[in-house]
C-alpha cells in the first residue's frame, strides 16, 4: 500500500467511526444497529483483494474497539478475517463482479462477520454474546450493510485508487479492477 492509500484509509476509517457512533448507533431495530466498521473491512477485501482487505480490516477493527467496552482486539481479529475472506470471494467472482453482486457479497460478509464476532467474543469469556441477540444483530447488520455497501465500496475504491490488487490489476477510480 502506498502512503496516500494509508492516509485515505485512515480518513475513511475515522469518518466511519464518527458516523457509527454519532448516527448509526441510534438507528436501532430490535435492539441492534447497522455496523459500518465491519462493512468497511468487507468492502476493502472486495475492492482491493484479500491482503489489503485484511490490513484495512485490522485498521478498522483497532478503531472500532476504541468505543466499545469489550476486550480490545476482538474487532481487529474479526475484521482481519472478514477482509481476507471477501478478498478470496472477490477472486472467485470472475465474470460476475458487477456492482450489485459485490454489494450483496459485502452485505453477507458483514453479517457473517457479526456472527464471527459473537463467537469469538464467547470464546473470550463473554458467553452472553451468543443467543437471540446474535440473530437480531446479524439480521440488522446485514440489512444495514445492503443499504450502505454502495457508498462504502465507492469510498474504498477511492482509498485504493491507483494501487494494484492481488491479481496485479490496478484499481481504477470509480470502478473495480478486472
Amino acid at each position: 500500500m502506498t502512503g496516500s492509500s494509508w492516509a485515505r484509509l485512515a480518513l475513511v476509517v475515522a469518518i466511519g467511526l464518527v458516523l457509527q457512533v454519532a448516527v448509526l448507533d441510534d438507528v436501532t431495530v430490535a435492539g441492534a444497529h447497522p455496523d459500518l466498521m465491519v462493512l468497511i473491512a468487507a468492502c476493502a477485501g472486495m475492492t482491493a483483494g484479500s491482503q489489503r482487505g485484511a490490513i484495512a480490516g485490522f485498521t478498522a477493527g483497532l478503531a472500532a474497539d476504541l468505543v466499545v467496552n469489550l476486550p480490545y482486539g476482538l474487532s481487529p481479529l474479526t475484521f482481519v478475517l472478514v477482509g481476507f475472506g471477501t478478498g478470496l470471494v472477490r477472486a472467485n467472482l470472475a465474470g460476475r463482479d458487477d456492482e450489485r453482486t459485490q454489494a450483496a457479497a459485502c452485505a453477507v460478509a458483514a453479517g457473517a462477520g457479526t456472527l464471527l464476532y459473537a463467537l469469538l467474543g464467547a470464546l473470550t469469556g463473554h458467553s452472553g454474546m451468543v443467543g437471540l441477540v446474535t440473530v437480531s444483530a446479524v439480521v440488522v447488520v446485514t440489512a444495514g450493510a445492503a443499504v450502505l455497501s454502495w457508498p462504502v465500496l465507492r469510498s474504498l475504491q477511492w482509498v485504493f485508487a491507483g494501487s494494484r490488487d492481488q491479481l496485479g490489476l490496478v484499481v481504477p477510480r470509480g470502478g473495480s479492477a478486472g
Binding site: V21, G49, I55, L77, L132
Partner: protein, 276 residues
C-alpha cells in the same frame, strides 16, 4: 508468481491475526489495559461534542413530531400526572418520618441508603456502540464528578451503573445487559441477584429457593449487600412471572425493569461509590 502472491497473502493474514491476539492479550494485563482505557477515554472525549450536537438537533425534532401526533393523549396524560403529583406530595410528607427511620436502621447496619445522596443530572447522548452490550453514553464525565461504579437512576428506578468515565462522557451498563448482576431483595425479604438477559428480555433472579413466597407484581429493590452492591432501596424491577419446578426445589422468577430502558433521555447519576 501466483504462488509467491498466495504465500505473501497468507503471511499477511497470519501476522495480522497474531497481532490481534497480542492486542487482546495485552488488554487483559494491568499496565496495558490502563493505557488502552486512557486511549478509549480520549477518543470518547473527542467524539462526544459531535454526539451532543446531533442529540441536540434530533431530540427536539423527534419531540416535535411526537408532540404533533400525540397532542390529545399528551394533554390527558398531563392532567393525570398533575393529579398523581398532588397525591405523591401528600404521601411524601407522611413518609418522611418512615424514611428517616429506615435511614437510621440501615445506617446502624452500615448499609447505604439512597435518600440524601447528591445527584448529577445527565443527558443520554448515544446508545451502545456494540450490538452485544446494553449501554448508553452520558454527556457528563469525571469533570462533573461522575465515576465508575456510581448507580444511575431515572423515573424513580434503577437504570444501571457507570462502567467507564472520561473527562466529558460516561458509559452506563444497563440492568438488562447480560453481564449485569445486581444484589436485590423482593419487597423486604430475601437476598437474590437480578441478572440481565439482553435487549427486550426480562431480568432473572438467581438463588431463589423453591419455598420462597414471591408474587407477580411485587417490587424488587436493590439490597445494598454483596459484591457489586449499590445503594439500598432503589426500585429495580417488577416481578412478571414466577415458575416453580416440578420438584418444587427451584423457583424461576423473572422481572421487568422498573425503568423503560428504550426511552431514556435524562438520567441521574448518584454520587456514591461502594466502600472498599
Amino acid at each position: 508468481m501466483a504462488a509467491n502472491r498466495r504465500t505473501s497473502q497468507r503471511l499477511t493474514l497470519v501476522m495480522l491475526v497474531l497481532a490481534s491476539v497480542t492486542v487482546l492479550t495485552l488488554d487483559y494485563h494491568g499496565q496495558a489495559s490502563h493505557a488502552i482505557t486512557d486511549v478509549r477515554n480520549a477518543v470518547r472525549d473527542a467524539i462526544s461534542p459531535i454526539q451532543r450536537g446531533i442529540a441536540a438537533v434530533l431530540h427536539p425534532v423527534g419531540d416535535v413530531f411526537s408532540g404533533t401526533i400525540n397532542y390529545g393523549s399528551l394533554e390527558t396524560q398531563n392532567q393525570q400526572l398533575r393529579r398523581e403529583l398532588g397525591e405523591i406530595r401528600l404521601k411524601l410528607a407522611a413518609d418522611a418520618y418512615a424514611s428517616a427511620e429506615a435511614g437510621r436502621v440501615l445506617s446502624l447496619a452500615n448499609l447505604p441508603f439512597v435518600a440524601g445522596v447528591p445527584l448529577i443530572t445527565s443527558e443520554v447522548i448515544g446508545n451502545s456502540p456494540s450490538n452485544f452490550q446494553s449501554t448508553v453514553e452520558l454527556d457528563t464525565g469525571t469533570s462533573s464528578g461522575v465515576g465508575p461504579g456510581m448507580p444511575v437512576v431515572a423515573n424513580a428506578g434503577l437504570v444501571g451503573s457507570v462502567v467507564t468515565a472520561s473527562s466529558s462522557t460516561a458509559t452506563v451498563l444497563l440492568v438488562n445487559d447480560p453481564t449485569s448482576s445486581i444484589p436485590v431483595t423482593v419487597g423486604t425479604t430475601g437476598l437474590y441477584r437480578a441478572v440481565g438477559a439482553g435487549y427486550g428480555r426480562p431480568l432473572t433472579l438467581d438463588y431463589v429457593a423453591g419455598s420462597t413466597a414471591v408474587h407477580r407484581g411485587e417490587l424488587i429493590y436493590s439490597s445494598g449487600l454483596g459484591g457489586g452492591a449499590i445503594l439500598a432501596g432503589i426500585p429495580v424491577g417488577i416481578v412478571s412471572a414466577v415458575r416453580v419446578s416440578a420438584e418444587g426445589l427451584v423457583t424461576t422468577v423473572t422481572a421487568t425493569p422498573k425503568v423503560d430502558l428504550n426511552d431514556l433521555q435524562f438520567v441521574d447519576v448518584l454520587e456514591w461509590l461502594e466502600p472498599g
